[in-house]
Symmetry: C2
């Protein structure tokens, strides 16, 4: 079965979107000009408006595409786990998937995290639903494991989730392929969050 070839329009549209992600990432929302985005996509500035109505529409598409990729990857990863998977296994899979997605779609992830605070409020408000949906997936993983007695009852799960997402999202800024693999990072982070870095009390020295 052959993959249906994309229309010329769709190909260009994707090229524009990828170019926009890179330029927004490097220059911020206001600093990314339609001229430079067009050049990065191999077009002239005026031609962008055939694919996207405005600069606002373009940044909105970058935000949504990146977040949808993260949601789909996470749903797919969790769906492949057996029903009897432990909370620990689920959380570790979520760590791995989140980091892998963030690195694979690095241009979109970094563009999003760097420009989010500068995007017009109307665009941000419309995007918020996807963000909240993604947050809910994490809430569920943590709450389920705590309810099953795998995570301590005295841990504030909201705080735990904010710690986890803050730490994982920052990987997009510092991770460089080469020495450490994505799996190393995810496993290392998961180990710290689940077991801590301190020598457990009552351990022989």
């Amino acid at each position: 079965m052959m993959t249906k070839p994309l229309a010329k329009s769709a190909v260009s549209q994707k090229r524009v979107l990828d170019a926009a992600a890179r330029i927004f990432r490097d220059y911020g929302y206001a600093g990314a000009t339609m001229r430079v985005i067009a050049e990065e996509a191999g077009l002239k500035a005026g031609s962008l408006y055939y694919h996207y109505q405005s600069k606002d529409a373009l940044i909105g598409a970058v935000l949504d595409v990146g977040m949808n990729a993260a949601i789909e990857a996470m749903n797919a990863a969790l769906a492949t786990l057996p029903p009897e998977a432990t909370g620990r296994q689920r959380l570790e899979a979520a760590f791995r998937t989140h980091v892998a997605t963030i690195i694979a779609n690095g241009d979109y992830s970094l563009a999003t995290s760097r420009v989010y605070g500068q995007v017009p409020a109307a665009i941000r408000a419309q995007h918020e639903k996807l963000r909240d949906h993604y947050g809910l997936i994490w809430r569920n993983i943590l709450a389920t494991a705590q309810r099953h007695g795998e995570f301590r009852g005295d841990v504030n799960l909201t705080l735990a989730r904010l710690l986890i997402l803050g730490a994982l999202n920052w990987t997009a800024e510092w991770f460089k392929p080469g020495n450490r693999s994505i799996d190393d990072v995810a496993r290392g982070f998961a180990a710290i969050v689940m077991d801590g870095i301190a020598v457990p009390a009552g351990t022989a020295s």
Copy 2:
């Protein structure tokens, strides 16, 4: 003993800097215009150039002032700990100090974290020394505690530091005074990083 009154110039300069931090935070590097910064400071655009040579000099000052405040607060906090303080106590104090500084200087912290990737490379390069210095303080806290056998030997301290700073720096984006206090957040985060969220193995259910 009276505090020496500041010269009119110094007062204005500080007002300009505070205004710049707020505007850079909200509009990004390119989106923050000298006209708007001036208005926020109660001046006209041309008057800014009496205090700062250029927009680049202004963002450079915002970055440096914010980071120097963090370094000084951390040094002061660690200096008040008794010499016999444990690694756990030092780490908890560092968590508390970092979050408190970030929230107290929220305009500067958020401006820095949001525009850092968009600032001209020359400005960023000059600021890097302060960043590295701050990172070194954290490296020392973690390495010392591990050398003393308080933190597990199999924990990768670089990974731990990246997790900690990613999580702590993100607090600037979501923390709102009201329900949770800064100390609650710092204590909660420190507890997770040191002891984990999982129920320890061998614990009776």
